[in-house]
Symmetry: C2
């Protein structure tokens, strides 16, 4: 049996949020629908933040409804606070991705909360979910941003990441998402964080969220795989970027990630050739945005044998 890997598309949220060009709702839903059809089983479709803060997500209700109508797809959304979680529960989204930063400064700048206040918010969100009737309770994920470095504070202590991870789990997180938000990590850092973290949190699913800001994204994925991580975030065409570095890469490129994993013999469940075609929805809707990605330029290796078809 090949190891199954869960890939989660975050381009609709983490990719689009830094772009001021509004992607029309129909284009977002065409993208989500097409990518879900390639076998990507989970997509972070939007963020429940006030539209005046991020106009890109003004259509979060329509996008959520459209995504929930796609059979088999897990539709998740980012929630920065209790109000966002309320909205997600009302809309019936499958999973709430709560996010807080390990770096105190980053958390203050990003959500105007101390980490302690964010943990308290998280507890309130879990209480809210548990107060819902069964069948209306979304999965709750605890996200730790800047877990491998911070653009304000620099390096971040492994012990601090683990401490918050444990607090989120004790508060009721059903899974964790650990993010190199600003693309600072290298394979040694990844191993130094994920090995003790996984030893601490046991069997709770942990997703790794890497950015390719300095070119190390897929190397970090490989190091995380070595630690036992089997769930990764990425964005098609690497949509995203860095607000502090114009032209810099953002999230790791979904189709390059998917190629590397398939080539390594892992089971992504994704039709790689179809996946590359989905780039066209981004290109058509956002023609001025730089699209990253090596596979789309180079194509598959000659005589490439997909992992599913290889003789074992």
């Amino acid at each position: 049996m090949r190891q199954k890997i869960i890939l989660r598309e975050v381009g609709l949220r983490d990719g689009l949020q830094i772009h001021s060009t509004f992607m029309p709702t129909d284009d977002k839903l065409a993208w989500i629908t097409a990518e879900a059809a390639t076998g990507i089983s989970e997509i972070e479709v939007t963020s429940y933040v006030p539209p005046k803060l991020i106009p890109q997500f003004a259509d979060s209700e329509a996008v959520t409804a459209g995504a929930l109508a796609i059979p088999g797809l897990t539709a998740s959304a980012l929630v920065p606070n209790l109000r966002g979680a309320q909205r997600g529960i009302e809309l019936g989204v499958h999973k709430l991705n709560f996010v807080m930063s390990v770096s105190r400064t980053h958390n203050m700048k990003n959500v105007r909360r101390s980490p302690e206040e964010s943990i308290a918010d998280f507890r309130a969100i879990v209480d809210l979910i548990r107060s819902q009737p069964e069948g209306r309770r979304p999965v709750i994920s605890g996200g730790l941003s800047t877990a491998l470095g911070c653009s304000y504070e620099g390096r971040v202590a492994v012990s601090q990441v683990i401490d918050y991870a444990v607090q989120l789990l004790e508060a009721g997180a059903q899974e964790l998402q650990v993010a190199d938000t600003v693309g600072y990590a290298d394979p040694v850092q990844v191993r130094n964080l994920f090995k003790p973290l996984l030893a601490e949190v046991g069997n709770v699913p942990v997703a790794a969220h890497f950015h390719d800001t300095r070119g190390t994204g897929l190397a970090n994925v490989s190091a995380a795989l070595d630690c036992g991580i089997t769930m990764f975030d990425a964005s098609l065409a690497g949509l995203g970027g860095c607000p502090f570095a114009p032209g810099a890469s953002g999230n790791i490129v979904m189709e390059d990630l998917c190629f590397m994993l398939d080539s390594m013999g892992l089971d992504t469940g994704v039709d790689l050739e179809k996946l590359v075609q989905v780039r066209q929805f981004i290109a058509a809707a956002l023609p001025t945005i730089a699209m990253q990605g090596a596979l789309a330029k180079a194509g598959l290796p000659r005589n490439y044998e997909f992992a599913a078809h290889r003789v074992r």
Copy 2:
């Protein structure tokens, strides 16, 4: 003690050879001089092939002479055959990088030789070197191209790579260079090749030469480090490409590689900030060529602490 890593610049050869725009000799030497000053200790400065085949290397004599005048730099050059080796010996270059392809079809297309004929050529080159007076004998490296996949034949057998590696060593190779010429490799393939290869060849230095054609270049470096490889080829700004895929990436990006290694705490001996500045020589001389590289766009992480200065 931090592990020392030897980085070898191959942009002047592997990078420039696919570009028809001639880089003026003075610009090549300005690039070599500036990059040597950053701490890069070995540069493949040219290729001894007939100028009618690759006009880019018509100035190989002047480039070699200029590079040999730089104190502390090991100047190497590619030689495809005995004639090229003769030329290198006449010019007094420090190291000859002989190259043959593990894939029979690729070797026939590239140098019009069967692998057996290339091995015979290599023996003749070693004989020629040994017939020189002491002090005029260049180091001889045996290079195996398409060792991780071939654009004609697809996957390449590990046993075949090891077989040719052993033949090159028995014929007198003082080091080996193992190349993923067309950017097909993933970290699993890298480990599956380099672990048994290093077990077989013992203490002979082995350089890994990766391309980033499908985005896996630095992940492959990390996997090769795990196997014990400590010598890597790369090109500044990823100069190079793929003749079959316009716009595709070529060699792994030297400055991104250097950042990842430094971040991992390894000792490259290179001044990373100076290295990024050397990109300007390529940009000025070849303004129409696409320059790759994430670090140059994003900059170093905030509060980045160079490995040499970190508290241990």
